[in-house]
């Protein structure tokens, strides 16, 4: 119960920081949505990094490592440590400059201006919004999972998810970007500290990690968790496309506009990999080590469920398989591990740090509100007709409605945090990265190329969702053919989701998106913007 009290106290602190502590006296959309483009280097680094690390980074990473082993770090962390900073250097700095010079607040404003288009921008906005929903779902799942775990079930999953969603929306609506950035900075410090403290505490509790590792070596089923043989090199390669999503996420693109000076990007680019290391290495390592923490009853139950799942295999009824899969899910394993080995007060503080990562959905909520008010309400004349107050209120109603949809889906969703994020949000946004590159670096790109690319991504994500709905989740290690040509499997269904030629769908999605942008733009040279427009982008 101590943990629950500390976590609720933490929620109160976050609410205070976000809603009241850093309120600005200035008014206007730029101040509310972009903190007046005034963030200093430290807050910019911490808040940008924090907004990229959601429940995915601690709960999702440890849960995935619990089931799949050390490969989790290479799949997401080290690839992101390379690709995200490069994207910030090459693309983020240009976004900042264009935003500063032309007053853009959202990516769609920039696309509309760059390609001289109107409704195509609305199509892009719609896709961006739909693809952000899985991210909101992750936050709900993370909130529900954490509060249920720290209260030993006293706070049910549905209530935990609702509490976190309401707290986040409250301070985002009250504090805007300034409040969100400061909360993110505070939370990032907390969850960066979490890793080192949690590793130390668990190491002491387990009597060192060496014996735990040797224990994992002795059992063939767990020995493979210490290598990467559970996935193929091709599958591993396909994951390197996922971090391309980062710069295409509207909340990250919008965050790029908040820096006071271009030079603030320098520290963010250099320290980003180190921050990744500090948060992901402990999460992945502790997720793997959890497999030997058999003295912790909750983890024992997960391991038993996994063993039953493995022994039963395809002979198990689908319902029983789903039940065992849910029971063996590792999304809360790091909380259980800390709870099992740390003194109650320390475990409670560590749970609050996990909550810090879970609540990083605030920037997505703010981005959605910003996008709706700027890209739809203001663009279609609502601002002129109904005024500032109506603009803000409709933006809030839009976010509340969308969060409600995400909440209802989260209550029914059978997937893990990690798989949900990679299959939909990350894949879709990675495939949108060619739009950003074309807008910023290719004079010949046109609005029709952008539309073709956007429609393709929407169709591809829908196809992935359809495959995963129609084809039941197979037992672990089993691949179900879905579509083939000449005896070769093209689309398959694995436990983690749909695959194309043994790779994540993000690979064909991104490559075809880039191809369509190039081909359709080349076929529609008459749609190129005027020279005056191009001159603003390619001086």
């Amino acid at each position: 119960m101590t943990s629950a009290l500390v976590v609720f106290a933490y929620l109160g602190i976050v609410l205070y920081i976000g809603a009241f502590a850093f309120r600005s006296r200035a008014s206007g959309a730029e101040d509310f949505f972009l903190a007046g483009r005034s963030l200093g280097p430290v807050v910019f680094l911490l808040s940008l990094f924090g907004s990229n690390m959601t429940a995915f980074s601690i709960l999702g990473a440890s849960g995935h490592a619990f089931a799949n082993g050390i490969v989790t770090y290479g799949l997401m962390a080290s690839s992101s440590a390379l690709i995200i900073p490069v994207c910030l250097l090459v693309i983020g700095t240009r976004l900042w400059s264009l935003g500063k010079r032309h007053g853009f607040i959202t990516p769609v404003q920039m696309f509309r201006d760059r390609w001289e288009c109107g409704h195509i921008g609305t199509v892009i906005f719609t896709l961006q919004t739909v693809l952000l929903v899985p991210y909101i779902i992750i936050a709900v799942i993370g909130g529900g999972t954490t509060l249920r775990a720290v209260s030993n079930g006293a706070v049910p999953f549905w209530l935990g998810g609702a509490i976190v969603s309401i707290v986040v929306m409250t301070y985002v609506f009250a504090g805007g970007m300034r409040g969100t950035a400061w909360v993110n900075a505070f939370q990032t410090v907390l969850f960066l500290l979490f890793g080192a403290v949690a590793v130390s505490v668990v190491a002491v509790g387990m009597g060192g990690f060496s014996s735990a590792m040797e224990g994992l070596f002795e059992v063939p089923a767990t020995a493979t968790l210490l290598t990467r043989e559970r996935v193929s090199p091709l599958y591993f390669f396909s994951y390197t496309f996922i971090p391309l999503s980062s710069i295409a996420f509207p909340h990250i693109a919008i965050f790029c506009l908040t820096a006071k000076r271009l030079a603030h990007f320098k520290k963010t680019i250099v320290f980003y990999p180190i921050c990744m290391l500090l948060i992901w290495l402990p999460s992945v390592f502790l997720g793997v080590v959890s497999n030997s923490a058999t003295t912790v009853p909750a983890i024992r139950a997960k391991l038993d469920a996994r063993a039953a799942l493995s022994a039963g295999g395809p002979t198990l009824p689908a319902q029983e398989r789903d039940r065992l899969r849910a029971q063996s899910s590792g999304d809360d394993v790091i909380l259980r591990l800390v709870e099992g080995f740390a003194p109650p007060l320390l475990a409670a503080l560590l749970a609050a740090a996990v909550m810090a990562a879970v609540m990083a959905s605030d920037s997505q909520i703010l981005a959605l509100s910003t996008m709706f008010t700027e890209d739809v309400f203001a663009y279609y004349g609502g601002l002129k007709r109904y005024g500032d107050a109506a603009q803000v209120q409709t933006g809030r109603l839009f976010v509340i409605g969308l969060t409600l949809v995400a909440y209802l889906i989260a209550l029914r969703v059978p997937q893990s945090i990690f798989d949900l994020a990679t299959q939909y949000s990350f894949a879709g946004y990675a495939a949108m990265s060619p739009l950003l590159v074309a807008a910023l670096f290719w004079r010949g790109s046109t609005k029709w190329g952008a539309l073709a690319s956007t429609l393709w991504i929407a169709g591809a994500v829908a196809l992935v969702a359809w495959v995963q709905t129609v084809v039941p989740t197979p037992p672990t290690g089993t691949i179900v053919p879905v579509f083939g040509v000449g005896g070769m499997n093209v689309v398959t269904r694995a436990t983690t989701g749909a695959m194309v030629f043994g790779m994540l769908p993000v690979v064909p999605m991104t490559l075809i998106s880039a191809f369509l942008m190039i081909a359709v733009s080349a076929l529609t040279p008459a749609a190129r913007p005027r020279q005056a427009t191009l001159a603003r982008y390619f001086a």
Partner: protein, 72 residues
């Protein structure tokens, strides 16, 4: 030249990330508990931070810096 060095650095890091050489190997355990595959990628992440410092020096878009007010 700066572009060439930068491109080579990023490509080299990308190739180093696709390390098949520790694929099925867990030992040695670095510091007695860290599987070699995980240690490799942790070290890779640190090297990446150094490479980013280099890229910032080589590719910094100083021309984009502006202190002027928005034009609309």
């Amino acid at each position: 030249m700066k572009i060439v060095v930068s491109t080579f650095t990023v490509l080299a890091l990308f190739l180093l990330h696709q390390d098949v050489w520790f694929w099925r190997q867990a030992r040695p355990l670095v510091f007695g508990f860290l599987p070699i595959g995980l240690f490799y990628h942790a070290a890779f992440t640190l090297v990446t931070a150094g490479a980013m410092a280099l890229l910032v020096r080589l590719l910094w878009p100083a021309g984009l810096d502006t202190e002027g007010p928005p034009d609309r």
